[in-house]
């Protein structure tokens, strides 16, 4: 047994898993509060990457470099994506808040397709080269074959985001309002919570997470186009469901399980069947634990 190879694969799996987790966090948070699968999340991720691409281009032309570019590009992406998230909720989901649950789901798919095609038409359907915003750290050099600098940053950001979200929802006033809204919207309103504002805030936070993921991941893959949100969104959604949708540590666990399963499957069997391992695992886990790894079984009131 070649342990070094196994270790390399595990490292790759953890990195891939945290990429999935970073996107999955936004999915799972929105679902946790309003029980809506926001299919347009992947597109907000893509838009975040595009904004960062454009801002980076402008900043690089005007002579800035390094950390300034990364921070400004990420800031612009975050603000832009937050605006998109807010608007999306107002246009596509708020009018359907009291409609049957299937309607906002269809509306979400519609919004996703609309945004993908919108970017394709106003920008380009071609792939664009995304600059490497995070330069290699010297102290990473000895272990660069296992973990690159971007990988390290993705791991850190995913962990920090997970903790920050948990703290936000468990211990802050906004978090309390979010949980109240999730439990009973009418009762929350009666006790003085501005439900509309809470839901808007949920979407803004979700979109901010998507934009950060977009900037980091695009900087790692080195290319973007209008369709990246779809594939990324699909896998991240799978990760969220695997970990128990609505549960924040669950999204990270789901992402890691998915990433490691795919990598080991590809490394030891065949990468041609990577998706088969991913979705096979999903079927298996959902059969044994229908609410996901960390999800709580919801008691239906009869």
């Amino acid at each position: 047994m070649d342990f070094e190879y196994l270790f390399e694969l595990l490292c790759s799996g953890v990195v891939k898993g945290s990429i999935y987790a970073l996107i999955a966090l936004g999915y799972t948070m929105v679902y946790g509060i309003i029980q809506l699968i926001n299919f347009a999340h992947g597109e907000v991720y893509m838009i975040g990457a595009f904004v960062a691409f454009i801002v980076t281009g402008v900043l690089t032309l005007s002579g800035h470099s390094g950390l300034t570019v990364l921070l400004l590009a990420a800031l612009a992406a975050v603000i832009y994506a937050a605006a998109y998230g807010y608007t999306l909720e107002k246009i596509a989901y708020r009018p359907l808040r009291n409609a049957p649950r299937l309607s906002p789901l269809i509306s979400a798919i519609g919004a996703s397709i609309f945004l993908m095609n919108f970017v394709q038409l106003v920008q380009t359907p071609d792939f664009l080269p995304f600059p490497e915003l995070i330069s290699d750290f010297d102290f990473m050099e000895p272990i660069s074959r296992y973990l690159s600098s971007v990988d390290l940053i993705i791991l850190i950001v995913t962990t920090v985001t997970m903790i920050a979200l948990t703290v936000l929802i468990k211990y802050t006033r906004t978090g309390k309002a979010m949980r109240a809204t999730q439990q009973d919207m009418i009762m929350a309103r009666l006790s003085g919570i501005n439900v509309d504002r809470v839901i808007s805030a949920t979407f803004i936070i979700g979109s901010v997470l998507a934009a950060i993921a977009g900037v980091l991941i695009a900087s790692r893959t080195g290319q973007i186009n209008s369709a990246i949100g779809f594939t990324a969104g699909l896998k991240a959604f799978t990760a969220a469901v695997l970990g128990g949708i609505g549960n924040i540590p669950g999204a990270v666990l789901g992402g890691l399980v998915l990433g490691i399963a795919e990598t080991l499957g590809a490394g030891y069997i065949s990468s041609a069947y990577e998706d088969v391992f991913a979705f096979g695992l999903l079927v298996l886990i959902l059969t044994l634990r229908p609410s996901g790894l960390l999800g709580k079984a919801v008691k239906q009131k009869v």
Binding site: I19, G222, K235, E262, G267, S271
Partner: protein, 373 residues
């Protein structure tokens, strides 16, 4: 009895009138041009037809070949095999001397059986299906375009002969184009016997990360990577190879030989090999043909125009060299006499593939593809 004889008589007379109608039949050389001229595949057939018409107009104006004028017989097969057999039968019954066509591989295959029986030579500008020549089934078939597997054979021989590869890894994107290239490369390397295929894997196009497959590449100790697919995936793999400091020669198909790849892969592209069609745009004959076309039609020529033009020139040259249109003499002339065409100076090998047509290996040097001599 009487009645049927009468019908036969009428039928014969009718056919006779049809055949005889292009009057001076005996004094012209008849060349059939077959391909899709209507339907959704017409853009692939019409440029060849236009090329044939241009060549014939020029040659006829100069007095024809061997003192005879050339007459074109243009038939439309819509790229459908069942229509191709019909039009092939028509060309045979009109006793044409040589056929330029067909265009689609399926239609070509259907028609070749009929031409073979009638001892009629066909030169296709575009049928790339490998067995058409390589099976040896159709000794009357020639083509002025490279076969589908030529590119992969070139990549494989380049890896083993020039790069002295010993352990080759093959990765493809599971699509028709990429997997086809990968499969042909694998067969070529295995039958060549100079190197071993240590890894053969499909990857998921559009995936976020290919680390696993890259790690595997290292653990198998591959020295050369042949990649079947397009530039987005190639760029992602190259970037990982560089990040993980894996030194390996990278060979891709013409799907990565373009500006898109250079733009996206950036500095990772440096040193990458790619096979691609030979550059014919600078050949004098090619420039002349394109200029004439643009003057006549006010637009750029379409797909397979160069190959169609070359097929016509090769056919006329063979007729001239053979001094007539005898089947055996024509075949010998096609295989022995080189001719300058729009795709380079060509003659045909024993199987009917044009020598000197096809692909070259290019390498990225200072951010641009340069031909490897």
């Amino acid at each position: 009895m009487q009645k049927s004889t009468l019908v036969k008589l009428f039928a014969t007379a009718f056919v006779a009138v049809l055949v005889a109608s292009p009057a001076s039949a005996a004094d012209t050389i008849k060349i059939g041009v077959a391909g899709p001229h209507t339907g959704d595949l017409a853009p692939y057939g019409i440029p060849t037809k236009e090329a044939a018409e241009m060549v014939v107009a020029e040659v006829n104006a100069k007095g024809g070949i061997n003192g005879k004028q050339i007459e074109l017989m243009i038939v439309d097969d819509q790229c459908k095999p069942e229509i191709a057999t019909n039009v092939a039968t028509k060309l045979v019954s009109e006793s044409v001397n040589i056929v330029i066509g067909h265009v689609c591989s399926g239609a070509t295959k259907a028609a070749m059986g009929i031409y073979k029986g009638a001892k009629l030579i066909a030169i296709s500008p575009s049928a790339t299906n490998p067995p058409l020549t390589k099976s040896g089934e159709y000794p009357n078939f020639y083509r002025t375009i490279a076969a589908d597997d030529d590119q992969a054979m070139l990549a494989a021989s380049f890896a083993t002969d020039k790069l002295k590869a010993k352990k080759v890894a093959i990765i493809h994107d599971k699509g028709d184009y990429g997997k086809g290239f990968a499969d042909f490369s694998k067969v070529a390397i295995e039958t060549g016997g100079k190197a071993k295929v240590v890894m053969y894997e499909g990857i998921q196009p559009g995936a976020l990360d290919y680390s696993a497959v890259v790690q595997k590449l290292r653990s198998e100790g591959a020295d050369t990577l042949i990649f079947g697919g397009y530039h987005p995936e190639a760029s992602k793999i190259l970037s990982l190879l560089n990040k993980k400091k894996i030194k390996i020669a990278f060979i891709g198909p013409d799907g990565i030989k373009g500006d898109g790849f250079l733009k996206i892969a950036g500095k990772d592209a440096e040193g990458v090999y790619a096979t691609g069609p030979k550059d014919v745009a600078k050949l004098p004959l090619n420039i002349k043909a394109h200029d004439e076309y643009k003057a006549k039609y006010k637009k750029e020529p379409g797909t397979f125009f160069d190959q169609g033009y070359a097929a016509m020139l090769a056919a006329l040259n063979a007729i001239k060299v053979a001094g007539g249109t005898d089947y055996d003499a024509l075949g010998k002339a096609l295989k022995s006499s080189s001719v300058e065409t729009t795709v380079g100076k060509i003659k045909f090998d024993t199987k009917g593939d044009a020598e000197g047509v096809g692909f070259s290996v290019y390498q990225v040097k200072n951010g641009a593809f340069a031909e490897v001599k």
